[in-house]
Each structure stands twice: as C-alpha cells, then as structure tokens.
C-alpha cells in the first residue's frame, strides 16, 4: 500500500525508555524537588496500567460484544465523573449523579453521531472504533466539565451579594444566576475552542501522531483528527451546558433562596 510499516518496540527497546525516567529523576534529585518518589511510582503505574489496558483492549476487540462495550463505556463515564468532580476543593459536596448524567448523556449523544453517522464502522458497534472514540470524548469533556463546575461555584461564591440582590427584587434562581452560568460555560468551552484555533500549528494532536506512527497516510489521519476535534467541541459544549443547568438549582433551597452552605469551601 503506502509502504509505511509500524516499527515495533521490542522489550529491550522498551527497557531503554527508562533512561528517560532517569533523566527526569536526576533533575528532581539535583534540585531536591521531592518528586522522585512520585515519579518512580508514576512510572511503575504507567507500565502496569497500559500493559493491562493493552491486554484488556485486545480481549475486548476480539470479543466485540455490545453489552460488554456498553458496560465498559459506562465504567469509563463513572471514572471520568469521579475525576472531574473530585479535583476541585472549590466544589464541596457535589452530587456526583448530576456529573455522571451530563457526561454520559453528552458522550453518548456525540459519540452516537460520530460512530453512527460519520465513521459508520462494520458492525456499527465495532469495539475498535467505539471504545477509543468514546474514550477521547470523555477525556476531553471531563476537563471541560471540571472547569465549568469549578467556575460555577467560584463565580457564585464571589457574587453572593449580587445574586441575593437580584433574588430580593423577585428574580428566579435562573435570572439571578444567568451571568454566573454564562461565565461557567465560557470557562468550560474556551480551552476547546482555543485548541480548534491552533491545532496542527503548535503541535500535532496525539491521535493523529499515533495514526501516523502507526503507518497511516497523514492525509487520512487529518480527516480523522478533524472529526475528533469537532466531536470534542460538541461534547464539551453539550456536557457543560447540561451540567451547569442541572447544578445551579442545587445551590438554591426549595424556596428559591441561595443556599450559602452549599458553596462554602471546606476547611
């Protein structure tokens, strides 16, 4: 075909990559950054986690069973929710169900469009397509959601007086929170929109790099990357919107008063 073959990495070659860890480790040791332990632990985890996922994916691709794929995606959604809502000390007592619902719904909506309408693999549920695509969507919308959520809480916390002033006129929680909600959505979507601007100019995206190293024609890899970029933008937008719309009400009492205990930072 195009004469490009994937160059396999042998065990010996893989072992050589530890040189890179030594390089990073000596920087840490030399400057006493105190990162050595985490670096070594991280290296071990990278090896173990990726080897395990490599075997798992091989198994899953061969199995290619819709219920298994579905279950795996749900587990991925749950892990992503946990990561997105845990990272921020800014957001105390966040109900994970809302995060899970927003992430899962946006991922399935956008993933469904990409797999069912655009890529159309045979069979439609092909694990080799569905798992990586949904994974990419999740990884990115997770970050967007974490940013939106964080901003929603910090905006609310720094505008309590304004929000209560609007409420005291007779504003609904939506009217009182409209500006805060806009800010939260902007915060979640801006990094993705920025990445649309500079993609290919500053760095080649990981997926495209992977396809090229794997022997794909760069012109084909680019087509995939375009789909991926746009699907990420869509998933982030839908996920953030759902999350923010479902969460802001949670900051109010049943009688539509701002519940300031919900936004207090834990000491």
């Amino acid at each position: 075909m195009n004469g490009n073959e994937i160059i396999p990495i042998s065990n010996f070659q893989l072992a050589l990559s530890v040189i890179l860890v030594l390089l990073a480790g000596s920087v840490s040791a030399l400057l006493r950054l105190g990162l050595l332990k985490s670096l070594l632990w991280g290296t071990v985890r990278t090896f173990v986690q990726l080897f395990l996922i490599g075997y798992a994916l091989t198994y899953i691709f061969n199995l290619n069973s819709p219920p298994v794929i579905f279950a795996i995606i749900l587990i991925m959604c749950a892990i992503a929710t946990h990561a997105a809502t845990r990272r921020s000390s800014n957001v105390p007592d966040y109900p994970k169900a809302i995060g899970f619902l927003s992430l899962t719904a946006s991922t399935f909506l956008v993933g469904g469009i990409v797999v069912g309408l655009i890529i159309t693999p045979e069979p439609w549920y092909s694990a080799r397509t569905v798992v990586p695509i949904f994974g990419m969507i999740l990884g990115n919308s997770m970050n967007g959601i974490a940013l939106s959520l964080d901003r929603l809480y910090s905006e609310t916390r720094s505008h309590i007086a304004e929000i209560e002033s609007l409420l005291s006129f007779g504003a609904t929680p939506w009217e009182a929170m409209r500006e805060r909600i806009k800010e939260a959505l902007r915060a979640g979507m801006t990094p993705t929109i920025n990445s649309l601007m500079v993609v290919g100019l500053v760095s080649l995206p990981g997926m495209m790099t992977g396809q090229i190293l794997g022997g794909a024609d760069p012109r084909e890899a680019v087509r995939y990357q375009i789909v991926v970029m746009l699907m990420i933008a869509a998933a982030v937008a839908v996920g953030c919107l759902m999350l923010v719309l479902l969460s802001y009400k949670h900051l109010f009492t049943e009688d539509a008063a701002l519940n300031t205990t919900k936004i207090k930072v834990k000491q």
């Binding site: 007086a161 006129f169 007779g170 504003a171 009217e175 009688d255 008063a257």
Partner: protein, 226 residues
C-alpha cells in the same frame, strides 16, 4: 384587617446551629417597627427570614391578612423587600442600576417604572448626580442611597431595612429618613421594619411616623409581642 404585616410564631435559626428564635409581631399600615437587641442576636437573619431569603423553621408571615404561602416567593420578595446593610450596585450607570430590577420578569410584570418618581428621588437623595454617571464612581453613602431609590421604585409594600443610616453622616441620614417617611405616607398600605442602632426612631417620630419596638434576645418586650 388589623395589620399590614404580621409575624405569627415565626421561628428561625441564625447561622448554621444557633438557637432557634421565635417571634410574633404585627405592624399596622403606615408605621415603622424597630428591631432591637444585642449584635449577633439575629436581627439581620430575622429580616432575611421575613423576606424569604433565609429559611424559617416554623410559623408564618401574613401580608394583608394572607399567608406568605399563598404568594409566589418571587412576588413575596418584591412586596416584602429586604434592603441589606451594604447594598450592591451593578456595573453600569446610575440609570442602569435603577432599571436593573425591571429586567426581572416578575418585576416588569407587576410594576411600571415610574420615571417621574425616579427623577424626584434622585434630586432628593443624590442631588447633582446625573443618571448617566458611572455608578462605580459613587461613594459608599451615595451608593446605598442609589440602592434605596432602586428599592422604592419596585414598589414594595413592606421595606425591611438593615441599618439604612449606619454609614451616613447625620445630615444625609436625616435625608434618607425623610425620604422613607415620605414614602410611607404616599400610599395607605405601606410599612417599614427596620434594624437600627442610632436615633432613627426618635427622628422618625419627629417626622410624624408611628413607631414601635420588637426586642430580640433582650428582656424587654415590645408592645407588638403577644
């Protein structure tokens, strides 16, 4: 009906875990009820509870003989309007700050912005200030007077004022009280519940308003306590 607004065994809690306080009081139309008591006893929380910005534990508040449960919370907050000690100005001009409540659906449905009254109140309380002036250039005292004009324009029935003259010099304080006394007499069914440490009560009496005291946390009891 005897009272414009009546608190019936209204029970609330200050902060997260303070002791529950229960009050009963009634305010006849056209008069001012002062809330007194040592600081930290829950005077501000009481005002916030009456306007439904803070949850009550039990009890009810009646406006014109109707329980607060029969009003939508949004209508209630406009009618029984809480005015904080440090009111907020929004970014924009003086005029923007006066019109912002009218961007709220509930307000624009119930009230028409009275431009004449806005002008009159501006001349009285903020003489020499243009509606086009940037609100962020106003001093603290000027800001709170602008916010007071804004509160009067949404035509509440009962104003809940939290130390409205605390940060004003004597002269402007008197000016604010005059505006309040004028507002009270302008229409028959209006009332004010006020937290105040100064001699606002004495001044309002001098201006011809009928006043009473509700004592929170102290031993004395006001006449409206039942």
């Amino acid at each position: 009906m005897k009272y414009l607004i009546e608190l019936q065994n209204l029970s609330f809690q200050t902060g997260g875990a303070g002791p529950a306080i229960t009050v009963s009081a009634g305010l006849p139309a056209g008069s001012v009820l002062f809330i007194s008591g040592p600081s930290g006893v829950g005077k501000t929380t009481l005002l916030r509870t009456i306007s439904r910005l803070h949850g009550s534990i039990s009890g009810e508040v009646y406006l014109d003989g109707q329980s607060w449960a029969s009003y939508s919370v949004f209508q209630w907050r406009r009618l029984v309007h809480y005015f904080p000690q440090k009111p907020v100005l929004f970014s924009g001009t003086v005029r923007d700050n006066l019109t912002i409540p009218f961007t709220v659906a509930r307000v624009s449905k119930d009230v028409v912005l009275n431009h004449d009254r806005a002008k009159r109140l501006l001349t009285l309380l903020l003489p020499g200030k243009s509606p086009e002036q940037d609100a962020s250039t106003l001093s603290g005292g000027e800001s709170s007077r602008l916010a007071l004009i804004r509160a009067l324009l949404i035509e509440p029935a009962v104003l809940l004022l939290d130390e409205p003259t605390a940060h004003l010099d004597r002269k402007t304080g008197t000016l604010v009280l005059q505006a309040l006394a004028g507002w009270l007499n302008e229409q028959p069914r209006r009332g004010i519940i006020m937290v105040s440490h100064g001699n606002d009560a004495a001044q309002l009496v001098e201006m011809g308003a009928s006043t009473d005291i509700l004592n929170l946390g102290g031993r004395g009891k006001g006449a409206w306590d039942k």
